[in-house]
Symmetry: C2
Subunit: 238 residues, 2 copies
DNA sequence: GGCGGATAAGTTGTCGACACTACACCTCAA
DNA sequence: TTGAGGTGTAGTGTCGACAACTTATCCGCC
């Protein structure tokens, strides 16, 4: 979407670390860094030409976001996802976003409706699956920002990247946008908008919950889990 | 309660940092470190006799837990809480725990019922408000552990300490246990147990949500927000 | 030829040091 | 007395280095 009125601004602190976080996060989400790929501090330190301190902080941040895992041995890897992980994340989103929708509904204005309508219009014109996914996530983020509960938003953001990582892993095989997902998404978001603008809190919460749950249906059945072969390959690359 | 079967075990990594986290978290939650108190890395470094590196990591972890805030200037303080913060946290708990109860309900066993019953029995004998609070939180943690969704549990744990911090701040004035909260808590938890053991997912979720919401009622009306005077005093102490 | 052990490389956890910045205090002038 | 400016102090962000540990490699032995 164009511009998010409640755009993220703060946290100018931890600068080099922030740079590393943004870069690595992008590489993980885009799939350039595959699950299981090792993330060694000295290697990253050389790549970024930073000392190990900011690298280390960045890895801690990424671990917090669920994109990276510290093994018991101390080694760090891009997080590997099991079959159940996508379900877990969707379920967590249902919990957070249904409450978020309830609160956002209570504070809904015409401006919010206009923003969502613009987003939906962009979705209807989306030509690739990643683009559609991006618009979809931005819509959901908008609702969470509008809910007015900073904790709820923070919790949502802390699993957001895991969700995007799952999406990217499942999208890699099917880059072409099928007709179905787009029309389904647009339709579902129209229903969601109607619920949010209706002023009925329970309806908004339930519609959001149902919408997120049904996103599992047209999501690929293939599991994002990586088998040993893929992982070995990823290690070789990185 | 006695022993939690799904006790936390992992993360032996980042050892000194972990020690600092546990220590500082305890001091913040217990109220020894008041909101607004400065947390300078060199000072803590001297106190713990560690280098600044583990201290720094610990502060990042505590910031993640919401107990500590980084100011735009870079300074670090014990987080100050506004009037709305307690509501925000309770609302987030409602979102997470109602979903947690739904899932736990689906996997409920007689052993779980027995554990909760022991907890409730201990609550009925609790003699202080902090003790009752501890048992209360342990019960809720048990349900979240039993829900089987690691993400949901992780999200819950990431706001747990904020909740305990709020509790401690509001409890400081009323150390003596009034008759009412204890009987109310025990009664509510009996209802909750019945719902969880009933096998009816929606009932379990709604009961949990209502239970958490009503905890706002007998919670102190006084806000945990710190005024300038208290904050200045806290700075002087630390 | 296969296996065990010693050796080498690589990685993490921790440490002390330095530059830059923000803040507090103190001095000086109006 | 009050305000402005300069100075000193404290704190953060970053860096390179070292010890302990884990993993991989290679050699010797069976």
């Amino acid at each position: 979407m164009t511009k998010n009125p409640a755009a993220t601004a703060p946290a100018p602190r931890r600068n080099l670390a922030r740079e590393v976080v943004l870069s690595l996060r992008q590489e993980i989400i885009s799939g350039k860094l595959r699950p299981g790929a090792p993330l060694s501090e000295p290697v990253l330190s050389r790549q970024f030409a930073f000392s190990r301190a900011p690298i280390r902080e960045a890895l801690i941040e990424l671990e917090r976001e669920g994109l990276v895992q510290f093994e018991t041995t101390g080694r760090t890897r891009v997080r590997t996802l099991a079959e159940t992980d996508f379900d877990e994340i969707v379920e967590a989103r249902m919990a957070l976003e249904s409450m978020g929708a309830r609160r956002a509904c209570a504070r809904w204005t015409a401006k919010d409706t206009a923003w969502i309508e613009r987003n939906i219009a962009a979705e209807a014109k989306a030509s690739t699956l990643p683009e559609l996914s991006r618009l979809d996530i931005e819509l959901h983020e908008y609702v969470m920002r509008r809910c007015g509960n900073q904790r709820l938003l923070a919790l949502w953001q802390s699993i957001r990247w895991q969700f995007e990582m799952c999406l990217a892993l499942t999208h890699r095989s099917q880059q072409k946008l099928a007709f179905k997902p787009r029309s389904i998404t647009v339709k579902a978001h129209r229903r969601l908008l109607a619920a949010l603008a209706s002023g009925k809190l329970e309806i908004a919460a339930q519609t959001m919950s149902a919408h997120i749950e049904e996103s599992l249906e047209w999501s690929p059945a293939e599991t994002p889990a990586e088998d040993a072969k893929t992982r070995a390959k990823a290690e070789g690359v990185a």
